[in-house]
Amino acid sequence: MANKTLKDIAKVIRSKNAGPFEVTMDIIFKTKEDYEEIKNRGIITKELISKLYNIPIEKIITFAYFDAANAIKITLPRPRPQGSIGETDMHAAQQHVPLMKIPV
């Protein structure tokens, strides 16, 4: 997979609010093979997420694989309660972009 990034092998990379205090991100792979490879090689880790989102590892709420959907889910706290003063993304719909560029 030389020079490829996650967006080349993922069918879905998205972010969304999960309640008013969390943002959750889903990566769903096009093929079982790619999913298994990324999972087995440990390409995506809590350490990487911490770096990409500028957030301490212990604040990551969920980092989990879901084999039935060939998917990885990552859930982080929002910087402020949804919709309060300073909000930038009500539905947290545009917080997925750092994941797209992960080299695979």
Partner: protein, 454 residues
């Protein structure tokens, strides 16, 4: 209703958003045991709970409910509508009942209605807080009595038990309208009442509360058939398909965890769920489990009003101004604070949203060294009154327009303003201040039920 299957029709993911009648009627032709639809969400922010406004207009609800009632009346199909008005407050439950009364009067329908209210008395919550029965739900601070008092209203997401109580007490109920409700409840309740596998009931509810969002392409109306050890999903629009991939992917949607879904009374565990393609458009799901919790909890939601907002919207194209934007913003902030020295600094907030830099991701943005062609700047001012918010916004706007900065050669103005009014008042601003789990010994206790005939 047959004893070995339950047929459920959901016309749309969100009552009030409208749905194609053609596919809804196709679902009605299949004689569902219930038409179930959720109308609740916290997705669009705290202002609904904080200011008491409904998610959709009354006209939008009237139209959707009219279409549902026509079918309910003709074919005697029960209707369950949850989280009335979006936030599920008592006044919105009554608003929905009034809509049903109006429609029924105009059309000559007769219905027996049960209403369930989910607003919590503040004294009841303070009592529970003192007994340590209220805990944070996720990354939230512990609840303080003060916040309970400051909230405009606080609702609890009821579980299935208040619905079950109604169905046990009365066998002639045509319509249930509930306040804030755990989204899957109106879809799951008949299966749970009949003793079907609760894991499947809840999982079906989780998927169908979003209508046909789990289909490819995503749609509105969904038909679900619940059996003893599996359920089947079929979107009613023939150009939509449920696939193993689309349904499994939807399971993740807007949830904290991919396969553990906590709700009132327990966790739906999808770690051993099996998705099978039944034919081109239908998916069969089995293996979902429900793990009851030791302590029964419901989720509380509350919001308070924290002030008023005004904004201005401005563009920047000059490359020297763009290079010095941080310097300009910092100067504006200082000038405004100095000018309004009589207003306590902690009573208002100025937040610069700088699009082209980090307007979307804010604190989470890690790409710092980019040179944009243009910037869009929105200054958000929040203050105790609308007038103060607009005055601060105005002062900041004029300062920004004329502020000097290093290397400036465009001396007539720093920002391009597209709209009048140049300062735009946005009204009240709210904040979610209650998002906690309340322990209950009796899952029905705080939810009052009312019966009426229209």
């Amino acid at each position: 209703m047959s004893n070995d299957e339950i047929k459920i029709l959901t016309p749309t993911a969100m009552l009030g958003y409208g749905f194609p009648l053609k596919w809804f009627k196709k679902g009605i032709d299949r004689n569902p045991d219930v038409i179930a639809v959720d109308s609740g969400s916290t997705d669009s922010g705290p202002h609904k709970l904080g200011l008491g406004v409904m998610t959709c207009s009354k006209e939008a609800y009237y139209k959707d409910i009219s279409n549902i009632l026509e079918a309910a009346h003709e074919k005697k199909i029960p209707v369950f509508i949850s989280s009335a008005g979006g936030d599920g407050t008592n006044v919105h439950v009554d608003e929905f009942i009034n809509i049903i009364k109006d429609i029924s009067k105009n059309k000559g329908y007769h219905f027996n209605i049960a209403a369930i209210y989910s607003e919590m008395e503040k004294s009841f919550l303070i009592e529970k807080l003192k007994k340590n029965k209220i805990k944070p739900c996720g990354p939230v601070e512990p609840l303080q009595e003060e916040e309970i008092k400051l909230a405009t209203s606080i609702v609890a997401q009821m579980g299935v038990e208040p619905y079950l109580k109604i169905l046990e007490e009365r066998d002639d109920i045509d319509i249930i309208i509930s306040g804030r409700t755990y989204d899957p409840v109106p879809i799951a309740v008949l299966g749970i009442k009949k003793g079907f596998n609760p894991g499947l009931c809840w999982h079906l509810g989780k998927i169908m509360e979003c209508g046909a969002l789990c289909a490819e392409p995503a749609g509105k109306a969904m038909f679900g058939i619940l059996k003893n050890d599996y359920f089947i999903l079929e979107p009613l629009n023939p150009s939509e398909r449920c696939t193993v991939a689309s349904v499994a992917a939807h399971t993740l949607y807007e949830k904290t965890h991919p396969y553990l879904l906590p709700g009132p009374g327990g966790i739906t565990d999808l770690s051993e769920t099996v998705f099978e393609q039944l034919d081109d458009r239908r998916v069969k799901v089995s293996g979902s489990k429900f793990i009851p919790s030791d302590v029964y909890t419901v989720k509380l939601e509350g919001a308070k009003k924290v002030g008023y907002r005004s904004i201005f919207i401005a563009g920047v194209r000059d490359p020297i101004a763009i290079e010095h934007i941080d310097e300009i913003i910092s100067r504006v902030e200082n000038e405004v604070k100095e000018y309004f020295s009589e207003i306590p600094k902690e009573s208002y907030q100025m937040v610069f949203h700088v699009y082209g830099k980090n307007g979307v991701m804010g604190e989470y943005e890690i790409e710092k060294n980019v040179t944009p062609l243009e910037l869009c700047i929105i200054l958000e001012v929040a203050a105790p009154t609308q007038d103060i918010a607009t005055a601060i916004c105005s002062r900041a706007r004029t300062e920004m327009l004329h502020s000097p900065y290093e290397g400036r050669i465009a001396t007539a103005g720093n920002i391009a303003l597209p709209f009048t009014p140049l300062e735009i008042p946005l009204g009240g601003v709210c904040k979610f201040n209650v998002y906690h789990l309340l322990e209950l010994e009796d899952p029905v206790e705080p939810f009052s039920i009312k019966y009426l005939e229209v």
